[in-house]
């Protein structure tokens, strides 16, 4: 505590405690804003805050510098309590140039803090952003706490002895900004400096420049008293345990690796690069020492085709994609479904249709996951609500795929995939054993019968090549029950269609009942699925803080639905279904349960704001 006193005595800036703060870094896509944001988040994680992040970047890798389409941003909310979203409006905005200011200023909270690189506000950049006059002198900015910093000059000065030269000098600018924010928000410095040293171990001059800029940023705040008050958010009261900060794509990749170990099978991942799913491929390809085989196929169809082959050969087989790729995989999914092979199909949803907005969130593939195949082709569908739950639900998808010999669709989305949150690490020993035995005992008098179903699960046996005496053929043509021989028999097709449907429906007995978080006497149920979890829960909390009585629940299993869903829906006079689509779950609920559920829908390429959900709830409550 002595050091605290020292800081306070050496500077006139005083420290103010707050329970949460929302910060947004915005700049050119080449300005390193994602790095700055994720370093700030990690330092806050180490500090013990709860946090939630929302990265936002253009699909263009490097749109022309200084233009509006080139703006990339990273928002993080840190708090001393359990938060659920990255926050609606930033309290502090860092704008590295006029374009970044223009695309983000409207979101900044009234009276918030605006930090700008003043040297980027020259005539040329103002013009590129479409500003006729300098916005820093405008009325909109006058009500803000404006901190103007000549970041170019200060960064150049700071890194002059580090060995970088030319254009590389200004690349450390993001670390200067980060240093300033570390001072302003009383963040620990070590995690960032350690990260820089590790990350740039092979480029010591870059490491030195980044650290010099980072320290210079901190010192700038400290010595110039850039702000009268600095702000601190104390560590959060999280459940005891060991934590790491994880994105959904990483947690999903790790979950697949864990699932393969729990299934005692090698993992195969066939994929074709597509935003925002590619990071799963990248992450898995780092872990070949786990026996993970990743295969970058020639197209989406080959990606799932190779996975089907790997499944037939006895692997835990997975393919991952986003909406357009999901459409291409449709025919092959039906093959895996009718050959009854275990397979996980990951769809990291993005805004569609067609190429749509590849880096933006949407939940619009639900009906495709449910029905987007030819023929009668039901499949289990699971959706991931938060980044850390991707780990558990990848294991759950594998469990169902293997136990029931079926492809499983695992729905993620751009928000879950790229945002991060603290994850309390599970005890590895507590994870379930999901292994199933390969067929080893002949089930047909010396002949192997590939479609002799298990009477409990209705799954067929899995006999893999290399097993003597179990040679058999499977295929896309309708198969005779039990023998698996080609069959055009009318009654057999009815039986096989019914069997495939029953097998999937029956999984409802093997998944957790849905739990409702309800106030006594609530007559409104708010039900969601996927990445809207945080915004819905936060809105519910606000309702309760205002004394309103509400109930909420969130679906992870979308096919089959949990067995008690119908009873739950029917026990509330009002049901509200917020979704980032035009009403897909809503359709399913109304069709399956004949309830008068209402939708609250948005397809703007961004997550719900808490206030939006709050208003939607109020509207239903007060109607």
């Amino acid at each position: 505590m002595e050091t605290t006193t020292a800081v306070e005595s050496e500077t006139a800036s005083e420290k103010k405690l707050t329970d949460r703060i929302v910060i947004r870094f915005a700049g050119d896509s080449g300005d390193g804003m994602q790095v700055a944001g994720s370093r700030f988040s990690d330092a806050s994680a180490y500090f013990g805050n709860d946090l939630s992040t929302l990265p936002s970047f253009p699909a263009e890798i490097r749109a022309p510098a200084g233009t509006l389409p080139g703006v990339s941003s990273f928002q993080v909310q840190i708090a001393d309590f359990d938060i659920l979203t990255a926050g609606d409006a930033p309290d502090c905005l860092v704008a590295m140039n006029p374009a970044a200011l223009r695309s983000n200023l409207a979101d900044l909270r009234q009276g918030g803090t605006l930090i700008v690189n003043s040297e980027a506000f020259d005539e040329r950049n103002l013009g590129k952003a479409g500003y006729g006059s300098n916005p820093l002198e405008s009325e909109a900015v006058a009500s803000l706490r404006l901190i103007e910093v000549p970041m170019d000059t200060l960064t150049k000065e700071a890194v002059k002895n580090s060995g970088v030269s030319g254009r590389d000098v200004l690349r450390s600018k993001n670390f200067f900004a980060l240093g300033l924010l570390a001072w302003l928000f009383n963040r620990p410095l070590e995690p960032t400096m350690e990260w820089v040293e590790q990350k740039f171990a092979k480029k010591p001059e870059v490491a030195a420049a980044n650290i010099a800029a980072f320290k210079a940023g901190w010192n700038f705040g400290f010595t110039t008293e850039a702000a009268r008050t600095t702000i601190e958010v104390r560590p959060a009261r999280l459940a005891p345990g060991t934590y790491t900060n994880v994105t959904g794509n990483t947690a999903l990749a790790w979950g697949l690796i864990a699932a393969a170990q729990l299934a005692k099978l090698p993992l195969f991942y066939g994929s074709y690069p597509i935003t925002p799913a590619s990071d799963i491929l990248h992450e898995l390809s780092l872990h070949k020492n786990f026996g993970v085989r990743t295969f970058q196929a020639e197209d989406e169809i080959a990606a799932i085709g190779s996975a089907i082959g790997a499944s037939f050969a006895g692997n835990l087989a997975v393919t991952g994609t986003s909406g357009p790729g999901m459409a291409l995989k449709s025919e092959s999914m039906s093959l895996a479904l009718t050959t009854e092979l275990p397979l996980i199909v990951v769809d990291v949803q993005r805004a569609g249709p067609s190429t749509g907005m590849p880096t933006k969130v949407e939940q619009s593939d639900l009906l495709m996951a449910m029905f987007g195949r030819h023929g009668e082709s039901p499949l289990p569908v699971i959706a991931i609500p938060t980044p850390s739950e991707a780990f558990d639900l990848a294991i759950e998808a594998a469990r169902i795929a293997l136990k029931y010999m079926t492809p499983v669709v695992l729905l993620s989305d751009n928000h879950v995939a790229n945002s991060s949150e603290p994850w309390r690490l599970p005890q590895i020993d507590d994870l379930p054993d999901i292994s199933i035995p390969f067929a080893a005992v002949s089930n047909g008098n010396g002949h192997f019968l590939p479609y002799m179903r298990d009477l409990d699960t209705f799954a067929r046996p899995w006999a893999i090549p290399g097993t003597p005496g179990f040679e058999h053929r499977i295929g896309g043509i309708e198969k005779e029950a039990v023998t698996g021989n080609v069959s055009y028999d009318p009654a057999n097709h009815q039986l096989m269609t019914d069997s495939r449907a029953w097998k999937v429906a029956n999984i409802a007995q093997d998944i957790p009942l849905l739990e409702v978080n309800a106030d006594e006497g609530a007559d409104l149920l708010v039900i969601g699925w996927g990445s809207t979890y945080g915004a819905i829960r936060a809105a519910i909390n606000r309702m309760r803080a205002k004394g309103r009585r509400v109930a909420t629940t969130h679906l992870r299993h979308l096919n089959p639905f949990p067995a008690n869903l119908g009873d739950i829906l029917r026990s509330y006079p009002k049901v509200l279904v917020p979704e980032l689509n035009t009403g897909q779950l809503l359709k399913l609920l109304r069709a399956d349960f004949l309830v008068d559920a209402r939708g609250f829908n948005k397809v703007a390429g961004e997550p719900f704001k808490i206030t939006e959900v709050e208003e939607a709830i109020l509207e239903v409550l007060d109607k």
Binding site: R234, P235, G270, I308, F312, A313, F391, R473
Partner: protein, 350 residues
Amino acid sequence: MTAPTYSRSDFQTDQEVRWCPGCGDYTILAAVQNYMASMGVAREKIVFVSGIGCASRFPYYMNTYGMHSIHGRAPAIASGIAATRSDLTVWVVTGDGDALSIGGNHLIHSLRRNFNLKILLFNNQIYGLTKGQYSPTSEQGKQTKSTPMGSVDYPFNPISLALGAEASFVARTIDMDRSHTTQILEAAHRHQGTAFIEIYQNCNVFNDKAFLQLTGKEERAINRIDLVHGKPITFGGAGEKAVIFEDGRAQIVDTNSVDATRILVHDETRSDPTAAFALSRLSHGPYGPTPIGIFRRVTRPMYETGLNQQLLDARTRKGPGDLEELIRSAGTWEVKKEERPAGTPAVAPS
């Protein structure tokens, strides 16, 4: 481990073979079943994967592991098997529509990757199962149900295509010549990598006698150019025609008209594919003098060898995967019970 002794019947299934009577597929099936009996590989280690089309019914008739998959995708599915199970012997059965039209992309990529796959392309130059439309190997001008005024499509030369796709083994054989087919199957099996075999296969219902120029008694003597490794390429009843390589192309000449040293000596193992490609251009379909045999047979690392080596290297370098370590790899922090540690205050960086 030596494989059991088999006879052809060990590779037959109880399924009734349902190709049209007189179809060339029957002779290919017999050749393959016979060859498998002597191949020296245990039956359970063999997998047949096919797509869609008449040829693709093949796995149902082979008493091995097998998958009759979907149109064009057999090489992709087989790649997943080969990538993960080097202990298996994987064969792909496909047709001209399946491999060269709807599945063209998977075919070329499997050829360049060089998995240990044996691809049998039954080329009958017609769509049989959909009842007689022209295929990507049908001759230009062909009148079919979908081209009553004649096809305007220009056909593929499958051998040229395979060579262009970096195939390490490329051969052509004919359904009616069982002994030649068997030789090629054997060479393909011995080859470490993807083997591409085009089999001229007669569809007696929709495209009968398409290969007459190579199978008719008299025509065969005139037109069939047998490629024999290490031998000068001559053909015709008594070797009166020869192939020379001049002006950047293969040419057919009268043997007597050239010095014997100018006749191209066939070398399957040339690393440069130029000569093999030139030979593939001697004909653009079975309409005149056409080379039969192995065009190219070169050694190139197989995809799965590289992949498996990376797994081994990763394990040597990092040890077997440890889940506990993995989930902690991005850095962790502890939250203790009922304790709310005050934040570490910022201090001026040193």
